[in-house]
């Protein structure tokens, strides 16, 4: 059973206010009567049963600014490919995000836009997808550079992606770049 503080925190995070989902940690702190870390830990334990978890990330569109921290609720375990399709993800968007995400994560989260465009084109993915990913909050564009933005930081397990990316071996029978 959720306590009042946990319920209030969950409501603040889940219901969208403004353009971005989630809630700022400052707002959550104001809504809690008990220490926020304790409430967050309790909430995380309880919603884990639903396959969800609360993550707190530093919301920084500019690579160097410290920004504010923001809490989001996300799926605890990665979804299956079929589930993603049912959630409205089409194959091409996912492929574009996979290519850009893998490249940026392996480059420390930031690279020149021209490099990203080149990588996308080498995989036959339209470079216009970058604009859509910027709009959706996955990427941030700044002075010729492309970096991972708030949504990527919240949704992508960067450590895991980097490990899987480095460990992946190209299939011998598959042609390059297909």
């Amino acid at each position: 059973m959720l306590t009042d503080d946990e319920l209030s925190m969950l409501r603040l995070i889940l219901f969208r206010r403004g353009l971005r989902p989630g809630a700022s940690v400052e707002d959550l702190g104001k809504a809690c009567t008990e220490p926020m870390d304790k409430v967050l830990e309790g909430l995380n334990q309880k919603i884990a049963e639903l396959g969800l978890e609360v993550v707190v990330i530093e919301e920084s569109d500019e690579f160097l600014s410290e920004g504010r921290t923001r809490a989001f609720v996300r799926s605890k375990a990665p979804l299956h490919r079929e589930e993603l399709k049912l959630c409205g993800w089409d194959r091409r968007s996912l492929a574009a995000l996979a290519v850009v995400g893998s490249y940026l994560v392996s480059r420390g989260g930031r690279a020149k836009e021209i490099e990203v465009v080149h990588v996308l084109k080498s995989k036959n993915v339209s470079a216009r997808r970058i604009d859509r990913m910027v709009e959706a909050g996955y990427l941030a564009r700044d002075d010729g550079m492309i970096g991972l933005s708030w949504r990527s930081l919240a949704e992508i397990d960067q450590e895991q992606l980097k490990r899987l990316f480095l460990a992946a071996k190209p299939p011998k029978s598959t042609k390059e770049g297909t």
Binding site: R16, L64, S102, K123
Partner: protein
């Protein structure tokens, strides 16, 4: 511009190059920039130099922070340089990259707020859509409706009778002389001789036979065709479920 102003400007340009990725962060000597700043601190003249001084100070802080992050990143066991990353992406198929990505992807969960008015508009929209669907096909008055427990319903759905009906229809299908495939519409309408209610009953029964994989339904350019070639796989038993919807006092199945 004084020599001091020039050195401040050069410092600013160097930092901006590092921040924009033109230079690698460790190629910038932060101590040297700091010394330029120290030397200039007590000799500033005019608002422009004060502005340059403040900007250089801010950029040095940003560059040092970038150097910190860069050091952490390079010291990471999973450090990949740009060429290596490009090469790796080039060697992997998009499908493999997507599979890898999906394993580390945790979509956000959020709820949209629904106002009472939006809910009402949505409900009316769906009601209108459903109504349009019926009208396009036929007006509700043209449907034959069965009351639950009526004689007609029991004739169709009584368990033994239902199985018999299925078997009879299957026999009829197997004995048809139209080669291996039979046009769906022709079969359910008995080549146009069946009335509407019989046609509905036959299509209802056919759907069970298809579900049980005793016949297969194919779509081609000219329409739907029923095939005698059974779909591979174990046969399944189906249970008839009545779905009833009340629309303006008319029951439709």
């Amino acid at each position: 511009m004084t020599g001091q102003g020039d050195s401040l400007r050069r410092g600013i340009e160097t930092c901006q190059k590092a921040l924009s990725g033109e230079l690698l962060p460790h190629q910038v000597d932060a101590w040297e920039l700091w010394e330029i700043l120290s030397r200039a601190s007590d000799k500033l003249s005019g608002p422009e130099e004060h502005l340059q001084y403040a900007m250089l100070l801010r950029l040095i802080v940003a560059t040092v922070r970038l150097q910190c992050r860069w050091l952490r990143y390079e010291a990471d066991e999973l450090y990949v340089d740009a060429d290596m990353a490009r090469q790796k992406i080039h060697s992997l198929s998009v499908r493999t990259l997507s599979s890898i990505f999906v394993k580390s992807f945790h979509p956000l969960v959020e709820m949209e707020r629904m106002t009472a008015r939006a809910l009402d508009v949505g409900k009316r929209h769906w009601d209108e859509l459903a109504g349009r669907g019926f009208q396009d096909f036929a007006s509700p008055e043209t449907f034959l409706t069965y009351e639950r427990g009526s004689e007609v319903e029991s004739q169709v759905l009584r368990e033994v009778r239902f199985q018999e009906l299925l078997e009879d229809l299957m026999k009829e299908f197997l004995s048809s002389d139209d080669g291996s495939d039979v046009p769906y519409e022709s079969f359910i309408s008995k080549r146009g001789s069946a009335g509407f209610s019989e046609m509905v009953t036959r299509s209802y029964l056919v759907s069970f036979l298809v579900t049980q994989r005793r016949m297969s339904l194919k779509a081609n350019g000219t329409g739907l065709r029923l095939s005698k070639i059974a779909v591979p796989g174990g046969t399944t038993q189906s249970v008839a479920v009545i779905l009833r919807q009340r629309r303006d006092g008319v029951h439709a199945y």
